[in-house]
Assembly symmetry: C2
Homo-oligomer: 311 residues x 2
Amino acid sequence: MKIFAGVDIGGTTTKVGALGDEFDSVSFATPRNKDALTESIVEALKKLGRGRKFAGVGVGCPGAVDLGGKVDNMPNLGIEDLDIGERLRSALNVPVAVTNDANVAALGESKRWDLSDLVMLTLGTGVGGGIVIGGKIYEGHNGKAAELGHMIIEAGGRKCACGMNGCLEAYASASALIASTVRAMERHADSLMWELCPNIDAVDGKVAFEAEKLGDKAAREVTEEYINYLGIGILNICNIFRPEAIIIGGGISEQGENLLARVRRFCLKFDYGYKNAPRPQILKAKLGPLAGLYGAIEMIKYKVEDNNERP
Amino acid sequence: MKIFAGVDIGGTTTKVGALGDEFDSVSFATPRNKDALTESIVEALKKLGRGRKFAGVGVGCPGAVDLGGKVDNMPNLGIEDLDIGERLRSALNVPVAVTNDANVAALGESKRWDLSDLVMLTLGTGVGGGIVIGGKIYEGHNGKAAELGHMIIEAGGRKCACGMNGCLEAYASASALIASTVRAMERHADSLMWELCPNIDAVDGKVAFEAEKLGDKAAREVTEEYINYLGIGILNICNIFRPEAIIIGGGISEQGENLLARVRRFCLKFDYGYKNAPRPQILKAKLGPLAGLYGAIEMIKYKVEDNNERP
């Protein structure tokens, strides 16, 4: 029985898992420097391996990764230029594949849904993107593809954390929704949003959606604007990829049908596919925080298999 | 020797070619109705076949096509719901594959450049898009993908011919450039653009670029705006696909380096890939009007081969 391992390096927590006859996993607070991070991953893998050799290790990490497994920058960890692929290969002497965390999450969801062609958007602090084609992650010619959050949807628009203007992330991330909510609260002292969240510094991505349900007009304007921009991003993905499904994950996806049904209506109205266009399903992610770890294991499984098939 | 045939249905001219030991082709004015169009293609193929049976026929056409070869709408021909795949299969009894004209052009260029991962934009009346991944056309889960011209780059922006607002096509097509040029001429009676083109109804995509070379400020504003919007579209493709190259074709690409060098500078300035991002080359299409026919033949070649390999 081959045993494959996965690693999901998160901004707060890192999860490490091994899948053979059974599934076993551990997690720990992500260390904030290169050596400690590498060592804690190696240690966790060795513990899970219990003396057995892994057939391969798949890694998802919060940054742009090249095909060799080198991460330029993980801004949330303050770590730059980490060749995590090479470090794990020399420590463990097994095949290692590394990619962006949104990519492994997308692959995890594609296995969970049994859909081979999908695009996933993660609506969290940023907007992550993952593309799965034919059951495999689309990584670009040498990695770093699928930065769907940095697709510009409004030329000269809102400043994005990346330095560009008008990126989807500046409109559709949880951070963007929170900023819009705060602005609306500042403009509307009588809004019910104040009753739900008297402390403006504690506003989260739920306040506007909850207040809207109580009939608050200012909150409704915030969610409508949010959904229109998110809708444009999803519509673009639809017209570019025509996948089987577009999967929405991350904190904001917890709004469920209240969000998704409205996004579907938006896309149906503007879809560029003529009358018979195959419309991708727009679905809520199923796996939650385990998607990345699950996807990392699935990635190394097919990569090792593909490699064995090569003449 | 297997002989493969290609068909490139154009808004004005249809080209039909056959490639075996040698390459032979014919072209004719595209008939404006379903039966005449089908018959003229079948007739041309039979003539080129000289009694030999084709191993397969690849077709590119100016519309959105599903994987079975059904075209919903070819607006420039006034033809709807043409199942050209099925019609050619029954007339010829050979494998037939049909896709969008921009897709076959992209595949043609990918073979010409010997690049397996590229995205092509065609800047003509509209903006066509073609995606080649691993040497094959990316068609989406059931066709109709790669509508890159209908990627929204300015929410609520210019009205596009497709009915949406803010599509790349509304800014980066030759038609959009001509409309901007006309508007600038109307505002600037002293512009050199009037000397180059005294008849405002005869303005083409070259006027602004030519007047700018003579130092005309109004023309420079037109081309700068055009390049900024085209740059956003190309930047988005870069961040989404990270292909080996982005190939620019269509009438406007004739500006060559005057256009491409400026687009490259724009992308370099805003590229979201951190310092070590693999930057796609931005190149001018090489094949010109033959790209589609060449690509149609290459498409049916790999499709027949893939099909033969299936167990």
